[in-house]
């Protein structure tokens, strides 16, 4: 019986009742340095697609044209918030957490080059890859079916009855040639290097 009174007295104490009813930790706020979904800065997008190429999640980022201006669009439900698109963008179009600040402090950047591999046992020298290549088109608008060219400024051409890669460094990695090849003989590989302490570009 005494213990009942003890409990009653204990539980009727004002501090106890207050603690019982209002015990809550302070609401946890997301600190500003957390990597949020990448947001757009005011810098103009040059639609180089570096962000799309580096993105590890399928369908997380798209670069869309709207009213004449290009801008990346992040899809929630696909995005991992890894921040690689923010790091890969050479212009700084996207921003997330303190990635841009760190990048500036450490002078880090990604540098992508492309390697064109042709399987000569599968290649039948049709020249579709050379003709479909948009960079080839700029260098030699005269290139017609067959992929022959007298111009040595093109990325690749059919020379001497053989597929020849001349300027691999000009490849932008669009992989149009892969789609144009009827034998899947050509493959474009992206070689990505992380650089530190080197000026960007």
């Amino acid at each position: 019986m005494r213990s009942v009174f003890w409990y009653l007295r204990e539980f009727l104490r004002v501090p106890w009742i207050h603690a019982f009813l209002f015990a809550k930790t302070a609401p946890l706020l997301t600190p500003p340095y957390f990597r949020e979904y990448p947001s757009l800065t005011d810098v103009e997008c040059t639609h180089c697609f570096s962000c799309r190429m580096i993105c590890p999640a399928p369908g997380a980022i798209e670069v869309l044209q709207e009213g004449g201006a290009w801008h990346p669009v992040i899809h929630r439900g696909h995005c991992l918030r890894c921040g690689l698109c923010v790091e890969a963008c050479p212009e700084g179009v996207l921003s997330s957490g303190r990635i841009l600040r760190w990048q500036e402090e450490d002078r880090t950047s990604f540098h992508a080059t492309f390697h064109i591999a042709v399987d000569h046992t599968k290649c039948m020298r049709c020249g579709n890859c050379c003709v479909s290549c948009p960079v080839n088109k700029e260098q030699d608008p005269q290139m017609a079916s067959g992929g022959h060219s007298s111009n040595d400024e093109v990325i690749m051409k059919i020379a001497g009855g053989k597929h020849t890669v001349i300027h691999e460094d000009r490849c932008v990695g669009c992989r149009t040639c892969e789609g144009a090849c009827p034998n899947s003989a050509i493959q474009v590989a992206r070689i990505l290097e992380g650089l530190q302490g080197v000026a960007e570009g």
Binding site: A23, K24, T25, L28, L29, T30, F34, P56, A57, P58, G59, R76, G77, H78, C79, L80, R81
Partner: protein, 151 residues
Amino acid sequence: MNLLQDAKNWVRARSIHVAYVDVGSCNGCDIEVLACLAPRYDIEQYGILVHNNPREADILLVVGAMTPQWIDKLPALWAKIPAPKAAIAIGNCPISGCVYNRRETYILGPVSKYIPIAAEVPGCPPRPTEILSAVLSVAPTVFRDYEVKRP
């Protein structure tokens, strides 16, 4: 009757029983759900109890990309939960399949094809605060006036 309904609404918003089911995740989101239970986030101070029994649950947290083994089991588990009930998809996987949604993976998502999903919390993984706020905002709206709305 109205007063009784108000009392039910009040109670249901403050006493939420949660069950969570992993339909093939990488355990990243599981760990974030468990972090909600830990003292730092302390989900129980909001009246949310996680005891993983679908028969007693109000809210089902679905974690993970939908693997084929769960196609018949997840609707069965959903049927066991007494109404009113709501399912929340935690993380990218139940929404889109995320990084598993590629060729040659056994993913048959999204989860909303199999059970009705009331809310989706994107993120890989979502933060415990996001999970917490999703549960807290879904429960009162979904369970509100259940007896009135019931067909």
